[in-house]
């Protein structure tokens, strides 16, 4: 397909959609599926057929609309009017919705309609998620009708590879995988690396338990990722891309087949593969599947996993940009990073650089979950305060409880307490508070959570996920977990807390890779902001939140108590 064919296809599809009476987009992403959206989808289809509207109405399985905790969600597009979005849809309500739009006098479904000015949507700025929920999950036509692949066409015809790197650099985009390395710089490094074989890799491992942004982008708007990858391939001089997807979770297989079909479809249309859009640029994309290891998110481990090996990180340097896959320079970025490329090319670097804060540009997608009213996937400009995110978009804390902390960055991050609710969300501020931006998990905790137990939870995760290569992480995390368990069951002394703190520093500084280096973060940040809870556990043998069982006593006390117990035990024997 060349440029004019692309525009032609966009026009045909736009016209087709304009002729429809309305389009029904039923969310088919994982959270809505777990709420039963498959039945809703079937009901919608049957209802449309019953009303004899098959020719005038589209029913499509769309990607995520964001309001995952209120699923299943159904979106209705009617001509130029803003879309109507319905929450908590059941098959019965689905039938009523169709009846309503088929005939003005149909059933009243306004109870499930989300008001157009609901802060959940109004406060967001959807760039990365711009298409998510608005297009079919798979079909290429819908994406192209919304301007898809024009950025690639533009880059191939109008821009030299250096110019693309420069544009990304100018936009101020920073890596969304957690560390926030400037993306433009990374691209330039790979472009300048001398080699005639280079690779582009997308990190979609997303092991942070409680985050699902990357997978949702992949599910809801896969072509945007492919387009971003192709642009990256052109900019750095690579002709092969890999999408490293997390595997081994329920439903992974279905998603994978879907992604495979999407890639084949783009190839069929000449938008990927050999001689992309009749240019001299070729770019192939393959999928590589993980098999359940958090450490695969670490870049060197990820590349080993792509090469079919045990994913044990290797020391850097050499960085992937110098020596990556099969020894070739490799560009490795997060899914969300790649999803930002197309808007930057289309709207210009300056437009992008105007969004966000001084040092953190653009928007960030968060998976907002936990004790908030509106949990889901949100996208906000960098620099928005936690308070706005949690109280305006998230609708505040559920069931009348008190906010206690926001956990960001998953097992590599930390907890931010109420007194810092007004600090802006960007790379630097989060770091200053002892957490990290992370890839975007944001879990809200209320007063029913015990912060020591939260730290224990994450340490348990790190013990499970440590690859075992280096001693500080392999054994150090286990020892930290032991100390935390002691604090949680009431058998710790202040000396154990000292040992714990000392271990935190050592593991942070001496571990080989990011997993070990950041494993102490949840402990360090809870110690920093909630030290009183640790002390209550140890000194008063009391869990303030009432979570920990506290059913043990310190060994020291046991040593004093033991002779007494033995005496009474033998005393019983005498009586008997």
């Amino acid at each position: 397909m060349n440029r004019s064919e692309l525009f032609n296809m966009a026009q045909v599809e736009q016209e087709r959609q304009a002729k429809l009476r309305f389009r029904i987009l039923s969310c088919a992403s994982t959270p809505c599926l777990s709420a039963g959206s498959q039945d809703v989808f079937n009901a919608l289809q049957t209802a449309v057929t019953e009303h004899g509207l098959n020719a005038e109405v589209d029913v499509v399985a769309s990607g995520c609309n964001g309001l995952c905790s209120h699923g299943p969600v159904v979106r209705i597009q009617t001509g130029d009017a803003p879309d109507d979005i319905y929450e908590f849809v059941t098959p019965e309500i689905a039938r009523q919705i169709v009846a309503r739009y088929a005939d003005e006098n149909g059933a009243d479904v306004s109870e499930h309609l989300i008001p157009a000015d609901a802060p959940f949507f109004a406060k967001q700025q959807r760039i990365v998620l711009g298409n998510s929920g608005r297009i079919d999950q798979e079909d290429i036509e819908g994406y192209i009708a919304r301007g898809g692949y024009t950025a690639l066409a533009h880059v191939l015809r109008e821009m030299a590879p250096e110019q693309v790197c420069d544009a990304i650099n100018q936009s101020g985009l920073r890596g969304r995988g957690g560390a926030g390395y400037p993306t433009g710089l990374k691209w330039q490094l790979v472009r300048k690396a001398p080699s005639n074989k280079k690779y582009v890799v997308v990190n979609c491992d997303e092991g942070d338990p409680g985050a699902y942004m990357d997978r949702t982008i992949l599910e809801s708007d896969p072509h945007r990722l492919l387009e971003g990858m192709a642009i990256a391939g052109y900019a750095v001089g690579a002709d092969q891309g890999y999408i490293f997807v997390r595997g081994g979770y329920p439903g992974a297989e279905k998603r994978l087949n879907q992604l495979e079909r999407v890639i084949r479809m783009a190839e069929k249309h000449g938008l990927l593969g050999g001689r992309v859009m009749d240019s001299n640029f070729s770019f192939r994309i393959d999928i590589r599947l993980g098999a359940g290891a958090f450490v695969c998110g670490e870049e060197t481990a990820l590349m080993l996993s792509i090469m079919g090996k045990r994913a044990q990180p290797v020391p850097r340097p050499p960085y992937p940009a110098q020596r990556g896959l099969w020894g070739a320079p490799t560009l490795l970025n997060n899914v969300e990073t790649f999803a930002n490329i197309v808007p930057i090319i289309l709207n210009g670097a300056d437009w992008y650089a105007n969004i966000g804060t001084e040092k953190s540009k653009g928007t960030k997608v968060f998976a907002l979950a936990g004790k908030v009213v509106n949990g889901g996937l949100i996208e906000v400009p960098m620099g928005m305060t936690l308070r706005e995110i949690i109280y305006d978009i998230g609708g505040g804390i559920r069931d009348g409880h008190e906010f206690k902390a926001a956990q960001t960055g998953g097992p590599s991050g930390g907890c931010i307490p109420a007194q810092h609710l007004d600090s802006p969300v960007d790379y630097e501020s989060m770091k200053a508070l002892g957490s990290i931006m992370g890839s975007g998990g944001l879990i809200v905790l209320d007063d029913t959570s015990c912060m020591v137990d939260v730290a224990r939870f994450f340490m348990e995760f790190c013990v499970d996920e440590s690859c075992g290569k280096c001693v500080p992480c392999r054994v150090g995390t286990m020892q930290m977990l032991r100390q935390l368990e002691k604090i949680c069951n009431g058998s710790a002394t202040m000396q154990d807390l000292e040992i714990l703190e000392e271990l935190c520093e050592m593991v942070r500084e001496t571990s080989l890779c990011g997993l070990g280096q950041s494993a102490p973060n949840p402990v360090l940040s809870t110690l920093r902001h909630f030290r009183d809870e640790y002390e209550a556990h140890i000194l008063e043998r009391r869990c303030p939140a009432g979570v920990c069982k506290m059913d043990q006593v310190p060994v020291m006390e046991l040593a004093e108590e033991l002779p007494r117990r033995m005496r009474s035990a033998s005393g019983q024997k005498e009586v008997a």
């Binding site: 994982t30 959270p31 329920p250 090996k309 979950a369």
Partner: protein
């Protein structure tokens, strides 16, 4: 006196099993490339449900990899299993959001009712319980996956009810079809 296995003991088994054919085709499709080991293991586990010694040996020989290499890779990733799966499997998400919403209570009750801890199979081999971190449906926490079906907003009681139902259905089916 120890019996030492000969190299020939590890020769590929006769591929009469259609599932083995599937694995053979996959190895071939990837051009016998060693990098494709994880892909091949995925396909093998999908076909057989688990990875046994014969299968691993076959894969190793076909891909010209050391035996230990194949075992090392398979055991590194938690998705691969060396044990046959139980009849029914209940996966409880223990990701952060589900932890916050009380996944532990579900696990506790499962242990109390059926005597299985995460990673274990019940004594009669019919139910296995696994914990798993986050299929990414946090908005609907706590999440369960029972026999591949994703379920949101579960309580300990609803979980137990579902599993009892499943186990009872089997019994009925067996009684009907002798």
């Amino acid at each position: 006196m120890l019996v030492t296995k000969q190299q020939s003991d590890y020769a590929p088994p006769a591929t009469e099993d259609p599932r083995m054919d599937e694995v053979a085709r996959a190895v071939k499709r990837f051009g016998y490339q060693q990098d494709a080991l994880i892909e091949v293991l995925h396909i093998a586990q999908r076909a057989f449900g688990y990875l046994d010694e014969t299968l691993l040996t076959y894969i190793a020989r076909q891909m010209k990899l050391p035996l230990g290499w194949v075992y090392g890779v398979a055991s590194f990733y938690h998705f691969f299993s060396f044990e046959p799966p139980a009849e029914h499997n209940c996966v409880v998400c223990t990701g952060t959001a589900c932890y916050v919403e009380g996944a532990q209570k579900i696990l506790d009750l499962l242990e109390k009712e059926f005597g299985v801890k995460p990673g274990q199979v019940s004594a009669d081999g019919r139910l296995s319980v696994t914990d798993f971190r986050c299929p990414g449906s946090c908005g609907q926490a706590p999440i369960l996956v029972i026999d591949g079906e994703l379920l949101g907003r579960e309580t300990p009681e609803s979980t137990i009810a579902r599993i009892k139902q499943l186990l009872a259905n089997d019994k009925q089916a067996k009684e009907v079809a002798p």
